[in-house]
Amino acid sequence: MTMRLVLDYYNYWVCIILMMVGFYGVMAKTNLVKKAIALGLFQTGILVFYITIGKVEGGTGPVTISGAPADAVYSNPLPHALMLTAIVVGVSTLAVAMALAVKIREKYGTIDDHDIHRLEHEMPD
């Protein structure tokens, strides 16, 4: 029973594991660059989630081919198109995070969250 729950829905488990690894990284890592990478992982989990819900059992690629049977089943192409946009959003987020990390390194001399916190604690309000 448990085995079936894992194997039948393995695609969902992959998403969950990816998202949770990313989420753990965002919370537990103190290095800002690692935080940003973990955030990327979290987003990748969502990309996989969308792709997996677009799959239709027995469906083929959603491209019309001459000679295809009239009752051919096609996978849903919409989630793929959506995720193309989400990938771009993810890359932009990563780029902004990296740019901020570079600036923080210049201003604080560190990109470790704990060190930054300690430095900020000494500053007046």
Binding site: F23, V26, L32, K35, A36, L39, F42, Q43, I46, F49, Y50, I53, L78, P79, L82, T85, A86, V89, S92, T93, V96, A97, L100, A101, K103, I104, K107, Y108, I116, E120, M123, P124, D125
Partner: protein, 508 residues
């Protein structure tokens, strides 16, 4: 003219997008500001025209099909009384703050980078206006990210004055991205069940599914609940609702003054709009509030926000941080109005979105004037300014009275409706908390006012004079508007009534 009328909904988003790109290409020197000012002014005119159309002239909805694709398949922009009101708020604040930012941002940005700043400024407005107007769930996400990414950059612009702006920006980035991702997962769940991304279409298909629950075993129940929960968490992060508000105080405090005013007036308000949209016109209140009882949870968060935000505000020594925590509390009022699920509550939420944007905008801009002249916004910088900068302090005080909810200021109108709606639901304790929140607001506004009017200028502090006109005029404009809409509440209640009745399906 007819052509403009036809394209009005699209122009609100497309115009600042195109001018923003042109600014990045050509906006050297002071030109970027002029382009931004023109674009925001045109957008303001367009939103007011749309507002008049849907509220006063009818029909109540205006639809615009992107690329002429019919609606469940393509992206449609749908204007109804609710988002017309929020759009007009965003455009108004956007225009006035742009007017203000020309002088206020000048010391913070290097001239060769100015055009990128103004481009990002306009993209932020593109995102915020787009969120309010779009009728498509995925388009909502993309525009949310456009506005958020611009916001992170704008907040980080404050690093020239205080390096903590950078950490505030990156913390907001991490939490904001998680929030947007939660929203995206929630939309995925709804898409699994309904196969649609159009708000109206999702609503219709969900209604069909709910109808089967009455007789048969509930299908898709867990999926819909999970989707709803993810969306609410994501939007609450954007809204800075109580337990998820941690990014907000630092972001508002260390951002440049004009950016704080823009964000306080628009970004969280658009989040509140998103929540109203999802609860009322996508999930349906029967599911969200009556079936799941999530109104109790939302109201509890709202009440905690009012209490915790106001109490935190009292103990701040930095006036900007004080206002930021006060915003956490004020968001609580809006969320309480959403949770009340009656006409008066929704009216309170819509009016408070508008009023709080005016008052907080005016107050952040007044603090920007103080920062410009004295170089700091801690309470000791405010001391004795009542005589040195009388107009700035007057604007701050008018805004402060709006936060307290003194009669004849705009804050009174929204609190009036809020208490009314709470009593209608027989929520006595929440109504009491609203009043307690006002008393707490009196304390923290009083601390600033005391420093301004009864404090002495610190010894050997440099001489200060009134802020430059180009910053003072927009500040006074918003303060005066906040007074005006407190005295003449006819316009705001008419618009909010139209919005509330449209959402609840009550005949106007």
């Amino acid at each position: 003219m007819e052509l403009i009328q036809l394209h009005l909904p699209a122009l609100i988003v497309v115009l600042p997008l195109v001018t923003g790109l042109l600014t990045a290409l050509l906006g050297r020197g002071g030109r970027g500001w002029w382009i931004s000012l023109g674009a925001t002014g045109a957008v303001l005119a367009a939103t007011l025209q749309l507002l008049a159309q849907v509220v006063y002239q009818g029909p109540q909805t205006v639809t615009y099909l992107m690329g002429n694709w019919p609606m469940p398949y393509g992206i449609g922009y749908v204007v109804d009384p609710l988002n017309a009101a929020v759009m007009a708020t965003v455009a108004l604040i956007g225009f006035v703050v742009t007017l203000y930012a020309g002088r206020s941002m000048a010391p913070e940005i290097s001239p060769d980078r100015a055009r990128y700043f103004w481009a990002v400024w306009q993209f932020c407005l593109v995102g915020l206006l787009g969120i309010t107007i779009t009728g498509d769930a995925f388009n909502f996400y993309v525009l949310l990210e456009i506005s958020s990414l611009s916001t992170y950059t704008l907040i980080a612009m404050g690093h020239g004055r205080d390096r903590r702006a950078l950490t505030a920006a990156i913390h907001y980035l991490v939490l904001g991205t998680i929030g947007a991702c939660c929203y995206l997962v929630g939309i995925a769940y709804l898409y699994m069940v309904t196969g649609s991304l159009n708000f109206a279409d999702i609503h219709a298909r969900l209604a069909d599914i709910y109808a089967t629950w009455a007789t048969d075993a509930p299908v898709y129940k867990k999926t819909i609940i999970a989707g709803f929960a993810f969306i609410m968490v994501g939007l609450s992060l954007k809204l800075a609702l109580f337990p998820l508000h941690v990014w907000q105080p630092n972001a508002y405090t260390y951002a440049p003054a004009a950016v704080s005013a823009l964000l306080a007036g628009t970004a969280t308000k658009v989040g509140a709009y998103g929540m109203i949209r999802i609860v009322y016109s996508v999930m349906g209140t029967d599911f969200a509030f009556t079936f799941l009882r999530s109104d109790i949870l939302l109201a509890a968060c709202a009440l905690m926000a009012i209490l915790v935000g106001s109490l935190q505000a009292i103990k701040q020594t930095n006036a900007k941080k004080l206002l930021a925590y006060s915003s956490v509390g004020q968001i609580g009022y809006i969320a309480l109005g959403i949770a009340a699920n009656n006409v008066a509550g929704l009216q309170a939420a819509v009016i408070h979105i508008f009023n709080h944007a005016l008052t907080k905008g005016a107050m952040f801009m007044a603090l920007g004037c103080v920062l410009y002249r004295t170089g700091g916004v801690r309470l000791e910088h405010l001391r004795g300014l009542g005589r040195k900068m009388p107009l700035t302090c007057a604007a701050f005080l008018v805004g402060g009275m709006g936060l307290i909810g003194v009669p004849l200021t705009s804050g009174f109108v929204s609190k009036w409706y809020l208490v009314q709606s709470a009593l209608e639901r027989q929520w006595l304790a929440p109504a009491g908390v609203v009043l307690v929140g006002s008393i707490l607001a009196l304390v923290y506004v009083g601390r600033c006012a005391e420093a301004m009017y009864f404090g002495q200028r610190p010894e050997n502090s440099p001489e200060v004079r009134e802020a430059p006109l180009s910053m003072l005029v927009p500040t006074l404009l918003l303060a005066a508007a906040s007074l005006y809409f407190g005295i003449d509440s006819g316009t705001t209640s008419r618009v909010s009534e139209a919005a509330a009745k449209f959402l609840l399906g009550v005949a106007p």
